[in-house]
């Protein structure tokens, strides 16, 4: 159970468990957030691109080290947004993992058909029961 999310699109994972998993998602025109971001000018928010990476990254992480724990996004090292994302775009991200134990870092390069749109470094930490 990953809780609730502001994006609805289904994220596909290619090569889970491989060294560099690839995740993809189509930005549907029916994403609820587009109605308000912005009226008359739908732009897929930068934070929604980060959410795509977060969810895709979680899907490629191994199970937490013990029951009662879960992985959570604990930090954003950096994100650079290079170009806007629009409805209809297909987001693709190549993930590269580092770190071990209860803290893992994920670096992602996100592209659409027009090229790279974002570069992100996210940190995930195991939280929950001791």
């Amino acid at each position: 159970m990953t809780g609730c999310s502001p994006i609805r699109g289904a994220i596909e994972v290619a090569g889970p468990g491989a060294g560099r998993p690839r995740i993809t998602m189509r930005v549907g025109a029916d994403e609820p957030i587009l109605a308000g971001h912005f009226p008359g000018l739908p732009i897929f928010p930068g934070v929604a691109v980060v959410e795509f990476v977060r969810r895709g990254a979680l899907a490629t992480l191994a199970e937490p080290s013990r029951p009662g724990r879960r992985w959570v996004l604990s930090g954003i090292g950096s994100v650079r947004f290079l170009a806007p994302v629009f409805p209809g775009d297909i987001l693709t991200a190549d993930l590269s993992w580092s770190g071990e134990g209860t803290t893992r870092r994920c670096a992602a390069s996100v592209t659409t058909g027009r090229g790279e749109v974002a570069r992100a470094k996210l940190t995930f930490t195991e939280r929950g029961a001791a």
Partner: protein
């Protein structure tokens, strides 16, 4: 108690965001070119909660955590209020769109749930032409739930965005060199007043 008269900063006039992505409820203090404190009340009636099962329980309690990226977006919108207050033309299609250019050194601590009121504190670190750098925190009560090392917002004319000219054809258009998803519309505001509640 507070009343409508306390809403001295008209958020809906300053930000182009609308439901369900208008994530600032009230500005409680704003010192132009310097800092802003703004509130966002989290409610289980927001659309992100629409698909949660009736009794969602994770291994360590309810999983109705407010999404971290929306916490960040809400903070960034508060920054956008500070960066664009005083703009004469907040309409997103006619003014400039504040886009999230970059984020660094953000850490999340604690959990946010429906019923919590987020208090965002934002400092304007630097303004370079149409680019602004902000830093600050978000808290629920006495607990700091997010620390933001820096966020860069860039103001871009809506007409420069391929989606503005032909939204239906956006996917085929060329994209600007930098700019992306989050924030607000407008331009640097330099109002000569301080707004307090």
């Amino acid at each position: 108690m507070t009343g409508p008269a306390d809403g001295a900063v008209p958020v809906r006039r300053v930000l182009p965001h609308r439901y369900p992505m208008l994530l600032v409820d009230r500005v409680v203090e704003l010192v132009p070119e310097r800092s802003v404190t703004a509130l966002k009340a989290v409610t289980g009636n927001e659309p992100w909660y629409g698909e949660l099962p009736d009794c969602p329980e994770g291994p360590d309690g309810p999983v109705d955590d407010y999404p971290a990226v929306l916490l960040l977006e809400s903070w960034c919108q508060s920054a956008a209020v500070l960066g664009t207050i005083g703009e004469p033309e907040p309409h997103v299609l006619r003014g400039r769109v504040p886009l999230l250019g970059g984020v660094s050194a953000v850490s999340f601590a604690g959990r946010v749930h429906p019923g919590d009121v987020l208090v965002h504190r934002v400092d304007l670190v630097r303004r370079l032409a149409d680019t602004m750098i902000f830093a600050g925190t978000s808290a629920v009560g006495a607990v700091t739930v997010m620390t933001v090392g820096s966020v860069v917002l860039a103001l871009r004319p809506a007409a420069d965005l391929p989606g503005a000219a032909a939204p239906a054809d956006a996917a085929g258009a060329a994209a600007p060199a930098d700019a992306a998803g989050a924030a607000t519309d407008d331009r640097p505001g330099r109002p000569g007043r301080s707004v307090r509640r």
